[in-house]
Symmetry: C2
Subunit: 150 residues, 2 copies
Amino acid sequence: MGDLEIRPATTDDVPAIVAMLADDPLGAQRESPDDLAPYLTAMERLRADPNQHLVVAVRGERVVGTLQLTIVPGLSRRGATRSVVEGVRVHADERGSGLGSLMMEWAIDTSRREGCHLVQLTSDNTRTDAHRFYERLGFTASHVGFKLTL
Amino acid sequence: MGDLEIRPATTDDVPAIVAMLADDPLGAQRESPDDLAPYLTAMERLRADPNQHLVVAVRGERVVGTLQLTIVPGLSRRGATRSVVEGVRVHADERGSGLGSLMMEWAIDTSRREGCHLVQLTSDNTRTDAHRFYERLGFTASHVGFKLTL
């Protein structure tokens, strides 16, 4: 399969990331891979924020996975810093290869190094395979995730 | 009831915020209001981060509510910025007064002003009253919230 590297995403990775975001039952309805302008604007904002870690998994020279880790300080739980995982995607060719677990292990290790006491994420109610995946990694489905579209 | 103001929290507000975090069935088990040091350290980190809005609701000169709003840029959903609400607490004397709704309206209005396309939060599975409250405000319980304690 070739060597795998997980590294910070650059602007050059945006098309490959957006293609993965769109290649998904939910993402297909809400992404616009033919118009990268809003993604490039968001990328600038991500790069300027030291609490954001948008990474890609690269095998050979090909982008095969992505996730975003946000470090969130807070007062709750004795001033605990937590991390939030968003936008986890594995390329269709790599599904079932264990890449998702490797990326989540990276997220958990990085959260520890950043001094976080808690890693959290939300997963759409319909993604039942993903729910089992997160439970196998040790996550607990202890919360209800609410969203309000503005 | 006196005038209500929602304003950024200061270091002087930390004892009142921690008292509210601890006065809660879940918070009682995980907060330490007798040792403010870790909270004051976290407060410094919150104040240094322009994407963090920790606010208090004040009636007269008394702190009666708090919440934390985090602005999170991202690539998903056409480069949408989202906001995350954490640590919503209303003082026991003020519960049922509509203060929770006012604070959440502040969070939603601020999210709009910051250009967010989505407001999200997680609520412990056991907080069924809170779930009804968020649904009345227009939130949808569309996600499962996973946590991993480090």
